[in-house]
């Protein structure tokens, strides 16, 4: 599956190949109304990764429903709306509208965006915050509810347990790590917001550890995210306990990487004489 914020609204990837080959696409984070996002510069390359400070630029849920959804709804892959808001009421507002869309069978509740001043990660770094927003969104949504967790916490397992307790059907982790970059020559930060979210292979070992911890702490399925670049990475996340994985920043490097991962996982299953990837989930040999 493709991670939110790295694959637009699926059309941009469909320009390269037929996206029905993919397991699912988590669409760009969507808010109740238009957001311009943060000022340029919003990106800095870092060793084996990058920082971004986009700040949830999107045209709002109504624009999505009227203009984008009709064009993508029959793409033949699972489309998941990434739901955002500054307040619980805003999260619920977006959720209620998505609930009416026949071809969207799941939402990803984003309580982990590090690049917005209000909402976003603020809900995802405390158990009461995560519980409150999950509880209200759960009431407003009949289908699959996935909660995307922030790694910028002391114990991500606690947050995962908190959202599980409020009826989440699954958790996805990790969102980006809060980081920063400085130009030593100019002595200035490289991002307009000073700090941003770190992604890419640089974060993979930490993401893997968090997925492992969370998968032991909850009974609901875990979706692994964090620097996955190839089939071996994807399999590592599954061994650590992820039932599925999302590929994100790798798409910037090459939008074909998810197809290579699918092929590579199939090849792995054949080589190891395994029938289904589900037999790999959590099968870390200790």
């Amino acid at each position: 599956m493709l991670a939110s914020g790295t694959c637009g609204f699926a059309e941009e990837i469909n320009d390269f190949y037929d996206v029905s080959q993919l397991g699912g696409i988590f669409l760009k984070g969507t808010t109740p109304r238009n957001r311009d996002g943060n000022l340029y510069p919003r990106m800095a390359e870092t060793p084996s990764g990058m920082l971004n400070a986009v700040g949830l630029q999107n045209k709002g849920i109504d624009y999505f429903i009227e203009n984008i959804y009709p064009r993508i709804k029959d793409y033949g892959t699972s489309l998941i709306v990434n739901v955002n808001g500054s307040t619980i009421e805003e999260y619920v507002e977006v959720t209620e509208k998505v609930n009416e869309l026949d071809n969207i069978h799941a939402i990803e509740l984003n309580i982990s965006c590090p690049n917005v001043k209000e909402g976003g990660m603020a809900f995802g770094v405390t158990c009461p915050g995560a519980e409150a927003v999950t509880r209200e969104v759960r009431k407003a949504y009949d289908k699959t509810l996935i909660v995307k967790l922030s790694p910028n916490v002391t114990d991500v397992s606690e947050i995962a347990r908190a959202v599980e307790g409020q009826g989440a059907d699954g958790v996805s982790l990790v969102n980006t790590f809060l980081g920063m970059a400085i130009d030593s020559e100019t002595r200035k930060p490289l991002l307009s917001t000073v700090t941003g979210g770190l992604s890419g292979p640089a974060i993979k070992p930490i993401a893997l550890r968090m997925v492992w911890q969370v998968s032991k702490a909850v009974k609901i399925p875990v979706i692994g995210i964090g620097g996955i670049m190839n089939a071996a990475d994807a399999i590592e996340f599954m061994l650590a306990g992820a039932s599925a994985v999302q590929v994100g920043t790798a798409l910037f490097k090459n939008p074909h990487i998810p197809l290579r991962i699918i092929e590579g996982v199939d090849d792995y299953l054949q080589r190891h004489n395994i029938q289904s990837v589900s037999e790999l989930v959590g099968r870390l040999q200790m």
């Binding site: 941009e12 190949y17 340029y40 390359e45 990058m50 630029q57």
Partner: protein, 260 residues
């Protein structure tokens, strides 16, 4: 097959043009689609943890018979430096064709193309593709000094080439905007195009706006993906924040929020 692709191109030539500029020619694995001036390729510069993202380069020349395209690489940072160390025979992963191209001139138009630094690449490509007689095309190319200019006399057949240098060592002394064609004669043109450092493009855009002449510029904001998903290369426009990679890199100056 989608409208965009990722392919391994073979490097056929890597020619040093001067102290900082290289011409790299790349052969496609199959037939090239039609590419137009202002469009770009995004190149994976491999084997380095320090260079994680691709680097975008304007297309300079296309040869549909040989299925090659070339770029001019100016060494600016770690990515461009590493790329210029490539040797013929090596392969590069290329995402292409990307971006919106310059508006083609109308028949009988008079056009002025202004290039600074490696920004001359799409300007020469445009002059060649314009389909106009050379008398209708003026090209101003600016550089710091004579040593920073590259040999482009082959393009004389597509337009009159005018050189400027900041130190006066070749052509008109000063910035491109000090050239008489930009100082006094802008109203003689139907369309003005510019590609180069932002300060240069803003100066050209300011003069074009004052003269009421159509003007397009090509921006080079930092980008991660190159195909409109990361939303990192945004530029404020009359339509809100636009992606330079998909809604540009070519913009009409009237659509930009530049203070000019």
């Amino acid at each position: 097959m989608g409208k965009k692709s990722v392919s391994d191109f073979e490097v056929t030539d890597n020619i040093r043009l001067n102290a900082t500029n290289f011409l790299i020619k790349l052969k496609a694995p199959g037939s090239l689609p039609v590419v137009k001036p202002g469009q770009f390729v995004n190149i994976d510069i491999k084997n380095s943890t320090e260079i994680f993202l691709r680097r975008p380069f304007s297309i300079f020349e296309v040869d549909y018979n040989r299925n090659t395209l070339s770029i001019i690489v100016k060494v600016l940072g770690r990515g461009s430096k590493k790329l210029t160390e490539i040797v013929p025979g090596e392969k590069l992963s290329i995402v292409f064709p990307l971006g919106r191209h310059f508006s083609y001139p109308d028949k009988n138009d008079r056009i002025l193309a202004v290039g600074g630094g490696s920004g001359l690449a799409p300007m020469l490509f445009l002059a060649k593709e314009s389909g106009l007689p050379a008398d209708n095309v003026d090209i101003i190319v600016g550089a710091r000094s004579a040593a920073d200019h590259v040999e482009i006399s082959a393009y004389n057949k597509y337009g009159k080439i005018h050189l400027t240098t900041e130190d006066g060592s070749l052509g008109t002394k000063g910035f491109v905007t000090d050239h008489p064609l930009l100082r006094n004669e802008l109203k003689n043109y139907d369309k003005v195009y510019a590609c180069g450092p932002e300060g240069m493009m803003k100066a050209v855009a300011g003069k074009a706006k004052k003269a009421g002449v159509f003007c397009e510029v090509s921006l080079e904001n930092l980008m991660a993906c190159g195909f409109g998903v990361c939303l990192c290369c945004i530029e404020p426009t009359v339509k809100g924040n636009s992606c330079v990679c998909t809604e540009g890199p070519v913009f009409n100056i009237n659509d930009l929020k530049w203070q000019i």
